[in-house]
Each structure stands twice: as structure tokens, then as C-alpha cells.
Amino acid sequence: MRKQLFISVAALAVSVAGPAAAADMAVPAAAPFAARFNWTSCYLGGHVGGGFAQRDITDPVQLVQDSFLGAGSTVGTTTASLSPNGVVIGGQIGCDYQFASSWVIGIEGSASGSTIKGSTNVILPLGAPDIALVKANTDFLSSVTGRVGYAFDNVLVYGRGGVALAGDKYDVIGSFTLPPAMPFSFEGLDLRAGWVAGGGVEWAFSRHWSANLEYDYYQFGHNSVLMSDSINGFVGNVDVKQSIQVVKLGLNFHIWGTGL
């Protein structure tokens, strides 16, 4: 806007000065037209950031004790709350369309590998008592989202939302004293669908390149995960409630770069 205003003022000044002035002074060259950045394009890029998850796993104590002692042995419910975190690195492709001057809509597919992991201990009161280590790991995070934004020339402020997938692994490991102490190693894999919502700001710093800072909240709700113990042949379920927050910095290449 400031550029356009400057150009208009400059044009007015030239016209007011008239030809007499042109006779005895050089007419300055007109300032080149500065086009606004056009966000209509497809793009591809990469991102890196941090992921901060919240996991509530219910009930690892019952899983272990009822496996060794029989169903119904455990009284009460135990929820292991974990706060795993780690690095998120991935890539994205998408397309945007700018309309009504400054509004932008688009769709994006994104996939990341991650090192979001955490662990906690829970007590097994019916053992010696014993301790079980509960671990949670997310190594894959992907989403397909739509986004809506408002462009201030080469700066886009946007929100996004859509569907998401997370690849998770859970472990409950330790030993349970009957006696004797019996090792156990429950493992469960999960590919969970959920939703994601977030927003950010994207800055086009050249005709083709932009950088963005984005926050996303992933919610995967409750889900039952089947756990199997390869040592003893036990099988059981835990309920996992999961959400992840991601803050990431991205870099995109816009194929039909214009303006600037």
C-alpha cells in the first residue's frame, strides 16, 4: 500500500510540474511498477519444529497384573500421564488461490517424521511391589488440511484445519514378582486418525520463496490399543488419549512466483 501511494504521489508530481520544467531539468525515470505478491500458486517445501504431546494411558497396571494373576485381580484404575516431546521434520506440498484481492484459500498435504517420545513409571502393587516402565513414541505425523488466509501483500496470515494421522508405538516393560520375578514386554502399534487445527504467518521474501511460522494442534481422542507380550504370550488393551501440539518453521518454493 505504501508503495502504491508513493507511485501515485510521484505521478501527480510529474504531471503538475509540466513541460516547462522538463525543458530545463531531466525528468526522473518513472518508478517501476511494484506488483503485489500473488499467492495463487502450488508450492512444495520442508519444515522443522518441535512437538509436544499429552498422553493418558489407561490402564497399564491392570494390563500387567491381570495378565499374570487373572482378569479382575486389579482393583481401581490407573492412568499413566506422559508428556512426550521431540523434533518434527518433514515436507509439504500444497496449492493456494488468491481471490477478492487479498483472501487466500488453499489445500496442503504434509508429512513428518518425528522423535516425539516419553516415558513414566507406574507401580504394580500386587507384585513385590514392582515397577512397570510405560513408554510412548510417535514417529510419524501427517495431515491434509485446508487453509484460509488474508494477504498483506507478501505476508499471509492464515488458519488451517483438516484430518491427521499419527503413527504411534507403546511399550509397557518390566518384571512382575509372582515370585519368582517374571519379565514382561508388552508392545502395541497404532495408526490413529484425528483432526488438526492451527494457524501461522507466512512471509514471501522473494518471487518464489516464502518462510512460515506455524502452530498446529492435533487431537486424536480416545482409542483402544491392543498390546501383546512376546515373552509370555499375553494380550490386552489399553486406552490411549492423545493430543499433540507442534510449532514449526517452514520453507516453501512457489512454482508460479510473481510480484516483489
Binding site: 494421522l165 508392545e187 502399534l189 491392543l226 512376546s230
Partner: protein, 489 residues
């Protein structure tokens, strides 16, 4: 063998030829316009396939029903794309040309040497150092109408070492098949190629050689051992399914596709020469396949970043050995979610092509049926597959192609699926190693006597394993040398 001798004789007498000769006859284009290597595609080759194998321009009529309007439209589109070379002016009047059905044949004869002899039984082959003619294929490759074309393959495969594992093994089978309807349209500022594909192998319809069906190696020994685990989308249901899907290529940039697959019935597969028990089972419903690819290109550079994947609900066979005489499946099913990512960079130099490719596929397995029935030890498993590849094709005629690939398959340990190691621990699907190949393609760019009726490729390939089926012990016994001659007519 007579076919090969005949081919060799012609090969010796003739000069340049093209890739699948029927495509060359139809388009009038040299092999090198569509292929950096067989069957690796150039940017123009990809667009020829997207347009339904229907682009003409050769010395023969494109279809029995060719119309000048259709040809003009296609020529205009080709100019728009900017990839096709100038059409022969003499080809302008399609109706005056003779029609030759776009039928081709190919044969691969290869010598295989493995580091250790094959385990018995190996009949009808020797334990090592075998020369085998396999596969031998016949194709329909080209246009049917102005908007419909097909790549359809029927193949003879030599019997496997030790014979077939069940009574439904076949030597003749239907092979990769992709029938397309394609059209073009402009909607506002969007320039579209759109189409419908009916095919029998997920990813066979894809135009980038970074997806499984047309991935490297393009020719492989039928005798050497290969790792026992791959993701489902890497050919587990090839020729066992039928699928119909829609695709579009927007502004020469963005490719979108959605296809649904269903397994054919047991008798239908058997009638088509496919052993139903070679696949893990039967689908419970329609298996969706998706594909998104973004291909920006500038100057002589072409880059692609994409994703593809599939969800399969598979009811395993009750008895894949047929020992009990049943062809039934379990009422429970295993669920497989395959999510793949791939990329390709291609550069056309003055006298060479440089291509870099990579793909990664992650398969999440929810083994509800296999775990319940004791075929797996885990209720869920994970399999990952990765390939990183570089290819350098130097020259036009007398083209030399050097290709190297690193491959890696890894996943969770599962005694029920993969067995136990020597220490009694559950094995993993892990296999990794390197593959290198040098190939010589005598005919590439020029027109000469014999064109467009013949093409050939001679390759020397070596596979080295660091790990094989979960263990490094004796992994190198599976290393294989494969010298082969590939002739297409």
C-alpha cells in the same frame, strides 16, 4: 529361443529402433523422446502416457478410426506442452496412412549366478549358473480410438525353481494392463489433462518411475532369491485385482488420482493365469488408492515430489497350500495402510539424462485375522521400505546407462510372520543392500533401416545384500549377478 534368435538376427541387420516399437510406430518419435532407459520415462513420455497412449504423428495411422480433428487437437496440445519434437509434415493426413495394430513382443534371456547355489529342490534348473528365457511378453501398446489407448501385456514366465507350490501355478498369465480414456480441457486459467484408467496393478498407471510397478530394476533374475518382505503396494496384488480410477494433470504441474481396486474371484484369477494363492488373500471391500504429485519444471530440469498410498482390507486364505482342498478365506481380515512418498529429479543434458529418485513407503499392519489364527505373533506390525537411486544415461544411439540403488526394508520383529533366528529370537523383515547395473541400448535417437520395428537392451546387474530376511548370517549368499539381453519387437 527361436524368437530370440530371430530377434538377434534382425538386430544385427537393422539399425536404430525404438522403445516399445508399437509406440514408436504410432508417434514417429525416437525411443529417447519417451525413455531415458527402458521403461524409465522422460517428461514427454509421462505426458504421452497421461494422454492415454493416443498421441500420433508416426508414419502409420494412429487408430483404425483416426480423425483429422482428433490428430489436430493432439498436435496442438503437444505444441502447448512444448515437449514433442516437430511432427513430420508428411504425417499431416492421417487418413491416407496404413493402419498397423500396435502390437509388440519382448523377451528377456538372462544368465544368473548367485554367490551360493540355490537351495534344493532346483529342478528344472541347476543349483547355479543358469540361462533362462523369461519373461516373454506380447503387448497391445497404443491407441484404440482418438481418446482411448492401452498398454496390455500377456506374459510367459518360466516355472520357478523347484516347481509350483500349489496346483494353480501358471506359466502364461495376464500381466501389467492399463486401459485409459484421456481428454483435455481448459477451465478458466486451468489447463487440464483428465482421464479414466482401468488397470490391474496399483501404481502401474503411474508415470513416474519412483513408484513400485515401474521401479528399478526393470529386468530381474527370475531365479535369484529376493527378500521375503515388501509392502502390499509393492506388487503383492499385481494381476490379482481390477481397478478403475480417475486422474487429472492440472497446468502441466499437479497430478491427482483416485482409484479403487477389488480382488478378482478365485476362478477369474486362475483363468487369467494368475495363481490366487500368490497374493495374501481376498479384499473385503474396495481398496482405495490415491496419488498426488507436483512436478515443476524449468529449462532442462524436471522435479517431482509426491505421495501415494492404499488401504487394504485383506481376508487371508484359509489354506494357501491347498493341502486341504479349500479356496476359502478367513472371516476376519488384516488391515494394511500403505503411505508412500516419492521424489524425482531429472536433467536433460546435451547428450545425457541424469535422474535421481527416491521413495519411502510405510505400512501399518493391523493383523486381526493373522493374530487370531496364529499366523502372526503380534496384533500389529510395521514395515518400512525405502529406495534411493541415481541413473546416468549417456548418449543417444549407443546409449550407456549406469544405475545404482540402495534399498532397505525394515520393520517390527514377529516370530509368527518371519520365524526365529538361531538364538530363538523373533526375526524382523529387515533386508538391505545395493544394486548396480550397466546397460547398453544400441538404438536411441535416429531413424534408420529397421525402425520402428525393433529395440534392444543389454544389461549387467549385480545385487549385494548387507542383511537378508532379518539376519546378516549368510546374507551375501544371496548376492546375484544377472547378465541379460532384452529384445522388443
Amino acid at each position: 529361443m527361436a524368437v530370440v534368435v530371430c530377434g538377434l538376427l534382425t538386430f544385427g541387420l537393422a539399425s536404430p529402433a525404438r522403445a516399445l516399437p508399437s509406440f514408436a510406430r504410432q508417434t514417429g518419435q525416437p525411443c529417447g523422446t519417451c525413455h531415458t532407459d527402458f521403461p524409465a520415462l522422460t517428461p514427454y513420455g509421462r505426458r504421452f502416457k497421461l494422454l492415454g497412449y493416443t498421441a500420433g504423428g508416426g508414419e502409420f495411422r494412429t487408430t483404425p478410426f483416426s480423425s483429422q480433428a482428433g490428430k489436430d487437437a493432439r498436435a496442438e496440445l503437444d505444441k502447448l506442452r512444448g515437449y514433442v519434437k516437430a511432427l513430420d509434415p508428411a504425417a499431416a493426413s492421417d487418413g491416407d496412412k496404413e493402419y498397423v495394430p500396435p502390437i509388440s513382443m519382448m523377451a528377456i534371456v538372462g544368465y544368473t549366478h548367485t554367490q551360493a547355489p540355490l537351495p534344493p529342490p532346483t529342478d528344472p534348473y541347476k543349483p547355479n549358473d543358469n540361462v533362462v528365457l523369461s519373461p516373454v511378453s506380447a503387448f497391445w501398446g497404443g491407441a484404440i480410438t482418438d481418446n482411448v489407448g492401452a498398454f496390455a501385456q500377456v506374459t510367459y514366465n518360466a516355472p520357478p525353481a523347484g516347481g509350483f507350490s500349489d496346483p494353480f501355478g501358471h506359466t502364461w498369465t495376464w500381466d501389467n494392463t492399463d486401459v485409459r480414456y484421456a481428454g483435455t480441457a481448459s477451465i478458466g486459467s486451468l489447463d487440464l489433462i483428465y482421464g479414466i484408467t482401468a488397470n490391474n496393478n496399483p501404481t502401474v498407471q503411474d508415470v513416474w518411475n519412483s513408484t513400485p510397478a515401474w521401479g528399478f530394476p526393470y529386468a530381474a533374475s527370475t531365479l535369484a532369491n529376493v527378500p521375503g518382505t515388501a509392502t502390499m503396494i509393492e506388487g503383492a496384488f499385481a494381476a490379482h485385482v481390477g481397478g478403475v480410477g480417475a486422474y487429472t494433470f492440472i497446468n502441466d504441474l499437479l497430478y491427482l488420482e483416485l482409484t479403487g481396486y477389488k480382488t478378482l474371484g478365485f476362478n477369474a484369477q486362475n483363468s487369467l493365469g494368475t495363481d490366487p494363492f500368490d497374493a495374501p488373500g481376498q479384499f473385503g471391500g474396495v481398496a482405495p488408492y490415491w496419488r498426488v504429485a507436483l512436478e515443476p519444471h524449468w529449462g532442462r530440469n524436471s522435479f517431482m515430489l509426491g505421495t501415494f498410498g492404499m488401504y487394504l482390507d485383506v481376508h487371508p486364505w484359509l489354506d494357501p497350500t491347498f493341502a486341504t482342498g479349500t479356496t476359502g478365506v478367513f472371516p476376519q481380515s488384516d488391515k494394511y495402510t500403505d503411505i508412500g512418498f516419492d521424489t524425482q529429479y531429472q536433467y536433460q543434458g546435451d547428450n545425457y539424462w541424469l535422474t535421481l529418485r527416491g521413495n519411502y513407503i510405510r505400512e501399518f499392519q493391523r493383523l486381526d485375522a493373522s493374530f487370531l489364527n496364529g499366523a502372526s505373533s503380534n496384533p500389529t506390525d510395521l514395515v518400512n521400505s525405502m529406495h534411493l537411486q541415481a541413473s546416468f544415461a549417456y548418449g543417444a544411439d549407443n546409449r550407456i546407462v549406469l544405475t545404482g540403488q540402495y534399498f532397505n526394508v525394515w520393520g517390527t520383529a514377529d516370530a509368527g510372520v518371519y520365524g526365529l533366528d538361531v538364538n530363538g529370537n523373533a526375526l524382523t523383515p529387515n533386508s538391505n543392500g545395493w544394486m548396480a547395473e550397466i546397460a547398453y541400448i544400441p538404438f536411441g535417437a535416429s531413424k534408420a533401416a529397421g525402425w520402428p520395428w525393433l529395440n534392444a537392451r543389454i544389461g549387467l546387474q549385480y545385487i549385494y545384500y548387507n542383511k537378508f530376511n532379518g539376519t546378516t548370517i549368510a546374507a551375501q549368499d544371496n548376492n546375484a549377478l544377472f547378465l541379460h539381453l532384452w529384445v522388443a519387437m
